[in-house]
């Protein structure tokens, strides 16, 4: 039985009238949003995540994102299959990722680039914005 992903509650109430987040506060909010979307869609979140931004680029790194099944497949020498599947997951979540980053930064995402590394288990979500976040 499939369940509809739950809405992301954190930062849901932010509006355009709120003061724009900046610096570490923005990084923390982006991390929470991306991890929340991951958790909603995949049933578990990463063991750790961090975000940093520089000018118009936002980078989110997540560690230990693979499920037990993916780890088992990876150990059997099929890491490429796991990478491909994770790439599909990330494409599926792309719209929500972009919407969250646009809401939090007040900027449009002009490019979303996602990548994975199997061992060590790290995923990266990169967002290229149409300008630096308003608060910075």
């Amino acid at each position: 039985m499939f369940h509809e992903p739950r809405p992301i509650m954190r930062d849901l109430n932010r509006t355009l009238n709120d003061a724009p987040l900046k610096g570490g506060e923005l990084n923390a909010a982006v991390t929470s949003a991306i991890v929340g979307i991951h958790t909603n869609h995949l049933g578990r979140g990463p063991s750790s995540a961090s975000t940093f931004h520089n000018e118009n680029v936002v980078a989110v790194l997540m560690r230990d994102v693979m499920t037990q099944v993916e780890k088992t497949i990876s150990r059997s020498g099929n890491g490429h299959a796991v990478s491909n599947m994770r790439h599909l997951y990330q494409q599926t979540m792309a719209d929500e990722f972009k919407a969250a980053v646009e809401r939090l930064t007040g900027r449009s995402v002009v490019a979303f680039i996602s990548g994975n590394h199997v061992d060590p288990d790290i995923a990266v979500e990169l967002f290229i914005l149409d300008g630096a976040p308003g608060g910075d």
């Binding site: 520089n54 680029v57 790194l61 680039i113 590394h117 060590p120 790290i122 990266v124 990169l126």
Partner: protein
Amino acid sequence: MAIAEQVPLKGGELNQALGSAVVGIYRVYLGRGPSSASTFHNDDVVVVVVRGVMSHAEKTLAHSGSGDDVTNMRQLLQQTMEADFRSAVERLTGRGVIAFISGDHVDPDIAVETFVLDGPI
């Protein structure tokens, strides 16, 4: 002995050296470099963003609706350059690269090379 081996680079100087190294490797392998590149690092992560990387032929394919094929080909090219990328980043940062994650975006034409190091720079 290179200057980078004598005095560790840091801050913007390191970013500039990393960007130059990655662009140089692009040029060697692909015959041309990106139109622009920017690099930044935070703790144990280095991000290099390059723009204008596609050849005329790749742009033609992308415009004809074969963007996925172009992305796949660029992934293969980036994998081919990976050893040189890692080597350059390790030499300049003095750290080991434990993960190299590369990605592409067709329109706008942007590629990103992300290096996760074995410790902060």
